[in-house]
Structure formats: C-alpha cells, structure tokens
C-alpha cells in the first residue's frame, strides 16, 4: 500500500513515508475543507463496494469504505471477539443498537452487502437486532423472553432504560443471558455503566472499545481487566501515554496511525488469551 495514493495521507507523510498520527477531528476537517465524503482516504476515482457513515462524525459526516475481503477480515475480528465472550453454535446474540454499528452490521451476512460470512453466523450462532432507541425497550424485553439470547450487546445510552424496564417488568427472559457487552459510539463506556448493567442482568458485562474510523473493535477481559487487541491490528505507544492504531487489513481506505487516545500497551500473557497484546485504556 502506497499512502501517497491517498490525498488525506499525502500531506501527513514524513521522509520515511510514515504518516503523522491523526484523529476524527482531522478527518472531519479534511472532509469539510475538500468537500470529500471519504476525507481523502480513498483513491481518486474509486467506487467502494460498501460505504459506512462513521457515527462519531457529524461536522460533516465522514464515510469509510470497504471491499468484500476487508469486510470479511473485519468480521473475523468481531467473530473472534464474540467467541471469546462465549458465543457458540446454535446460540443467539442479540443487539440493542443501530444496525449501522459495525459490531451489528458485520455479525450476519444478511445485514450488509458483500459480506460472505457474518461474525456470529460463521460460528453457527444466530442474530437478532432491535433498533437502538429507547422507545424499543419494551420490544427488547419481548426478545429476551422469547428468543432467549445468551449474549446481549447494547448501546451505553440504553442501559438506563433497559434497567428501568427490567425493574418494572421483571427479569423475564433475561435469565437466559450468560453475558452482555456495552458499546459506546467512539471509545468505551465507563466501567460504572457496565457495572450497572451487570447488577441488573446478573451476568458478566464486558466493555467494547470502538473506533469505527480505524475499523477497530476490542473487548475487555474478565480475567485481566484489560482490552485484548485482535492480531489484525497494530498498536503503537507514543510518548505521554497515547496509543495509535493501524488496521493493515484495510487497503482501500487505510487506517494507519489513528489516535485512539490515552492508554498503555501491555505485553501478552493473560491466561485467557496468552498471545493477545493488551491495552489498558
């Protein structure tokens, strides 16, 4: 991959061809200045198979681009995450979030074009998505009661409505759950949000660390408490405790040296996943 082919990176390259780290603000600024929905991260004239609007961007919205092989690779990351959380064949994972969250979108090949194998369905697991708005909380209870998923992945801002609904209407199908995970639009939900959901559901609740612009998702670990990085990513520690991420599996819309934020890279060695590089974030 030659980053000089991508206008966004062209101006950020040093003499060795290494780009200066960048953030969502940099993408939005580029998109606004050049009126380019992909913020200069696709080759001129290219026509991506799939374009995803990055939820965390708004002024203006910025889009990411993916081809079939890249979708499949990212779905592989998500699949390994679901498996580590405990999802197995003939079990169901439920989502209480917008379908546009890549963790949802990539979980079934029904949900997005050109995805050959969904992250959950390739495990032989089933999926159901409930629209990620508070007014759909009552329906979430019906899903829990009748579909009886083993895993629930939900938006942080829906924890409170779901907690209230369960308190009012009883646990009902929540008894089938074995684990849950809470997702934030960018970054990770606070531990207190996960703890609140765990109190309500009575199951372990994991946190997801999400950075859609970098095609990144990671989950924390019940054993070591840190986020495990999938082998598909490259992480670097800059000075002053900042982490930058790269997703080498995406070539058409590169994510090289994305500023994830303050954190600390930890060596592998967690007993649950010995080879995984870990991130304290």
């Amino acid at each position: 991959m030659d980053l000089r082919e991508f206008p966004f990176y062209r101006s950020r390259l040093d003499a060795r061809g290494v780009p200066e780290p960048w953030s969502l603000d940099d993408l939005e600024d580029y998109a606004a200045e050049h009126d380019d929905p992909f913020a200069g991260r696709v080759r001129e004239g290219s026509r991506p198979a799939v374009a995803l609007q990055i939820e965390a961007t708004s002024e203006p919205p910025v889009w990411a681009a993916l081809g079939p092989a890249e979708l499949d690779a990212w779905a592989g990351v998500v699949s390994r995450l679901w498996r580590r959380f405990g999802l197995g064949a003939d079990e169901t994972i439920a989502f209480f979030d917008y379908g546009s969250n890549p963790c949802v979108l990539l979980s079934s090949s029904i949900y997005v074009s050109h995805l050959r194998r969904g992250a959950a369905t390739r495990l032989g697991a089933h999926t159901i998505c409930n629209d990620g708005v508070a007014s759909m909380t009552a329906r979430m209870l019906v899903i829990l009661e009748n579909v009886r998923p083993v895993g629930l992945v939900m938006r942080r801002d829906l924890v409170a409505p779901l907690a209230e609904a369960l308190a009012t209407h009883g646990q009902r199908g929540a008894k089938s759950l074995r684990w849950a995970a809470v997702s934030e639009v960018e970054g990770a939900a606070a531990t207190k949000d996960a703890d609140r959901l765990a109190d309500v559901l009575g199951v372990p609740v994991r946190r997801l660390l999400r950075a859609d612009a970098a095609f990144f998702v990671a989950g924390d670990c019940p054993e070591c408490g840190q986020f495990h990085l999938d082998r598909s990513y490259r992480a670097e520690s800059l000075g002053e405790g900042e982490i930058v991420l790269s997703a080498p599996f995406v070539g058409g819309c590169p994510a090289i040296r994305y500023r994830l934020g303050r954190g600390e890279l930890l060596p592998a060695g967690c007993p649950l996943e010995r080879k995984a590089v870990r991130l304290a974030w």
Binding site: A51, Q53, I110, I128, I143
Partner: protein, 440 residues
Amino acid sequence: MTPRARVAEPFDRLDTLSSAALRRWWTGRVRRVLEIAVAELPFYAEKFAAAGFDVQRFRSLDDLDQLPTFRKQDMLAWQTERKCHRLGIERRIDRSVGETFTVSSGTIGTTFLTVNQRWRRAQGKSSARAHWWAGFRPGSPFVISAPAWHSYAAIQPYLAEFFEAPCVVVSGTYLPRYADRIVDALRRFRPRYVTMFLPMVFSILTAARRSGIEPRALFDQVEVLLVTGAPITPGMERHLKEVTGVGRISEVAGVTEGVLATSCAEGRGLHVAPDTCYIEALDPRTRQRVRPRERGSMVHCFLIPEGSVYLRYDSEDVVTIDDSECPCGLPSPRIKILGRWEHSFRLGGDTLLAYDVQLALEDGVPETVGMPFVISREGLNAGRLRLLMPEPERDAHDLAARLRGHLQARFGAAVEVVWVRDLPLQFKGVAPVLSETQIG
C-alpha cells in the same frame, strides 16, 4: 380481440406469462410449498391434519379454502404457549450457518421471523423483480438508512449486490433526528433510485431546508422515489413529485410475514411479486373471497419455503385485488393495501379508513394535498368526523367551510374542522385516528 399488452422490459420469463399461465404457475408453486410444509413443518402438519386437508388433492388455488387461516393473535398465543420464538413454521436446511431473526411488531405484540442465506437468495431475486418493476436499474448507489433490524433491511443488501450498486449504509435509524445523515448520503452519493419510508421523506425535506439545501436540488438526480409505509393517494403522489421534483413516484407495500407488491409505471395499483406470495382478499366476517376491487382482509401464502413460512396468514390489512389486465403487460394482479381493519371506523353508515378521508380531501379541496391531519377518536365516538389540521396562514375560515361542506356531502355525517398550531411530521401522509388527549 385486443392483443395482450407486452411488458416493455420484463425482469425474466415469469413477467411474460399470461394471467392464466401465471395462475397455473402459482398453483404448482403453492402446491409445492404446501407439500414441504406438511412434510417438514410441524405446525402445518398438525393444523392441516386437523382440518382434514390432504395436499395430494390440491388441484387449484380455490382449494386453499380448505385450509384454516391464522392471525397475529394466533401466532402470539402459540409463542406464549411454546415460550419460544420458533413456532414450528421455520424451515432450515443448512445447519452449519447461523440464522438471522427479524421482528414483526404490531399493536397486539411482537412475533419473530427467521431468515437465512437460502431465503436471502430466493427473496432477494423476487425483491429485485419488484424493484425492477418500480423502475430501479443497475449501477446507482443503494442507500440503506436503517440496517439490520427490520425485514426490508434484511433484503436491501442483496438488492445492492444484485443491482451492482455500491451499498451506502447511513448511521442511525428512521427517526427525524437522523434525517440530516440521510441528507448527507443523498448529497454525497447521488443515487438515482431511492427507497424511503413515507414520513421520513418529509423529515428529510425539512432537514435539507435547515441545511440550506433546496429540496428539489437534493433529489435532482433521483429518477425513482420508491415510497413505503403508507398507501399513497394520487394526490400524495402528485405532492411528492412537486416537492421533490422526482419524475416517478413508485409505491412498495408488503408485510413482514411475506407479502411484496410494487407499482408499475401505469400506477393502477401494486403488482404482487408472484415468486414471493399468493394473495387472497376475504370478507372478514364470512371468510369468503370478495369480488375484484372490493375490500377484504389480506390473506397470503408465502411461497419461498425457507426460514419462516406463513401459509394462509391473515395480516388483517384491508386490501383490494384487481385482476384486470394492466396496460404494462405484467400478469400478476394489482393490490392496494389501504390500512388495517383495527384502524377502520364507522361513519355515516359506512366502514371507512383514514385513506378514504385523505382521498376525499384531495378530491374536493385540492389545496389540502400534503397537509397532515388527525381524525379525532372523540369525534367518531360522537358520530362525526372531526379533523385536526394545521391552521393555514390565510383564509382559514373559508377553507374550513369548504372542507365541512365537501366532507359532509361525501360521507353523510357531521364534520368539524379544528385548526391547531402544528402537527408532527410523522402524520403527513399517514393520518392516524387518535384521541385528542394524545395530540396535546
């Protein structure tokens, strides 16, 4: 004898059959699905045996009369009894890959549908046919505004692939606060064909104006606007053309349990996608088939034997079926889904729907086309038609008088018009019957 019209651009050979040949095709297809249902789906094996139905004696579509019909409340009862979303109507062949579930939500509750890759291929092709009829053609970006959670979202990604179109996924969902994100998608990717839920069209237009974009400019590259979520009146079609500048407004209708129909260029109803379903219109009381173009309850057989298979399912929608020849040449009958029986009301001795009021408004008082309105439940309870409408800037008194006069003559009942300051955009084109306490 006038020769049968020929389809200008048939999707495939199925589009070129005569009406009689299509009925024969349907007979064979229905029989095949019934055979699978009896052999493999415990729900139907049990129910059909209880009805004394022998699939080997199925000879014509009229033989469907021998089968019981089912409604949402029946499915909910079985769901409660089984304590499970699977009702015994789900066909699954490939057990190595997980399935995907979608929801069918209504006022009385939520049931679930199972879809899988085999379903995707078959339903995808039929949906592509329906979109072809509506005017979609290959190559243009395909915008998906609310992915994953509903049944149309389960097929849109296939359509993008089929039409060799970039798949454009908007973040968020079908809520007015996300309309600006859809506006961004339309601006950036300039699709020639757009599918949209009717209330969201108006939210999008409002969001465009807020952003300083003239609505017609937002749609200036759009050749077809395919609208769903409400029956479109001729006046609403004209209104949409006027506000968007789009040359062709198409309509798609269906139910999650497996009905699909879209309009052709002639605009005389929505052609049933024959490889998705076979539809009957039954009198809700006698359960006999109604005459062509009369209103009945929509009962359908889903004809793709994969995932959830609904047979003789009464969606309790009000439907008309027109099996006269269409000038476009397509052989499948045209339906119009006008609303739901639960939303119908009695007025002046007739059973009516909000659609009837909307039609009457635009027929008699054309300047009301595009105006949202609410039908007051309190008014109906008192035997009158009481409409809540946003007050126009001028001549409100005169307009109210004309509305009352026309509607009273039309419906033979007392009519009141109540001007309100504003009504939610979601009521535009989808007039509800509500208690005035819900309006505030």
